[in-house]
């Protein structure tokens, strides 16, 4: 979608990631308890965003180790995408959004997602420049990878509930890689 200022909007949905090098692109997403990590290389202006919800207590078929591996996988896909376009790992900087506290749940999934993302960035040595996480309201986030600027708008209570309900639907795990070649 192109607006009058020549800015192209690219929306990132749950379980997805987008990497761009075009300075006229703004990445956007809507978050309830999901978390979006925005990463960029300030020198090249290459940046991207992912949007994830770790399978927690809602999915009994996955243990915590599997959930973490899934989260790491989504972060890795974003980082690999950035490096492929020419970003340098040692220059990457991050901003985090989302992880709102959801209603009527025993565990605070949003907080767990935020903690995971922060831990990941710390372990990988990626600077966290800023964050807007937690709270009781969802967020509409816009991120300009070329400048690193981000803007957010709080969702109303009803919008937050709708967003959270959508997030809880089972989403297909990122497309299954083809590893069907018989080795033995």
């Amino acid at each position: 979608m192109m607006n009058s200022a020549g800015l192209r909007r690219v929306h990132v949905i749950q379980g997805e990631f987008k990497v761009v090098s075009d300075p006229n692109v703004v990445l956007s997403t809507i978050l309830g308890s999901c978390v979006a990590a925005c990463l960029r290389d300030p020198v090249t202006g290459i940046g991207g965003m992912n949007h994830f919800l770790l399978p927690g207590s809602a999915d009994a078929s996955m243990n915590s180790g599997d959930a973490t591996r899934y989260g790491v996988h989504l972060m890795e896909l974003l980082i690999n995408g950035l490096l492929k376009q020419g970003a340098r790992r040692d220059r990457l900087e991050a901003k985090l959004f989302g992880g709102a506290k959801t209603i009527a749940r025993f565990s605070n999934v949003g907080e767990q997602n935020t903690l995971f993302a922060k831990r990941f960035l710390l372990d990988e040595g990626i600077t966290l420049l800023g964050e807007s996480t937690g709270g009781e309201h969802g967020r509409k986030v816009e991120y300009w990878p070329a400048t690193g600027k981000a803007r957010q708008q709080a969702l109303t209570g009803v919008e937050t509930q709708k967003t959270v309900a959508l997030e809880q639907r089972p989403v297909p795990v990122v497309k299954p890689p083809e590893t069907t070649i018989e080795f033995f």
Binding site: G65, H73, I79, D123, G125, P177, T179, I181
Partner: protein, 129 residues
């Protein structure tokens, strides 16, 4: 001593978190002799100095990627017999074919479960316990 305890494994991944998770999964499967490397070049140096029985390597890495490492391991008489399992975050069939042609023993897609990792290793070494 179980089979897993006797196998020397070299983990190769540029992401610290991935190395930690992989090491943790291997420990849960009973592996005790685990070495880690952050890229293909470092891994190849380690292999030449101290050959390991099994290399589990990520594909996408700076300096030398997984395929480069696989080629290096297979072309050195001291290391060519090591088992090699390639990990890949991208669903890329061409990569799987290439890895197989270069002599990978198995390819495992990320994110993997411990059961899948176990199956991938057992396909090479037989039952671990």
């Amino acid at each position: 001593m179980s089979i897993a305890e006797r196998i020397k494994v070299l983990i190769v991944d540029d992401q610290v978190t991935s190395r930690l998770l992989l090491g943790d999964a291997l420990q849960q499967l009973g592996f005790k002799q685990i070495t880690v490397a952050g890229d293909g070049e470092q891994a190849l140096k380690i292999m030449v100095q101290q050959p390991h029985h099994l290399v589990i390597s990520d594909f996408n890495m700076p300096k030398m990627d997984g395929l480069g490492l696989l080629q290096g391991v297979r072309s050195n008489p001291a290391t060519k017999k090591a088992a090699f399992i390639m990990l890949t975050a991208q669903g890329d069939r061409a990569l799987v074919t290439k890895a197989a042609a270069l002599g990978a023993n198995n390819v495992l897609a990320k994110p993997f479960t411990i059961e899948k990792m176990k199956a991938a290793i057992e396909a090479v070494f037989g039952a671990l316990k």
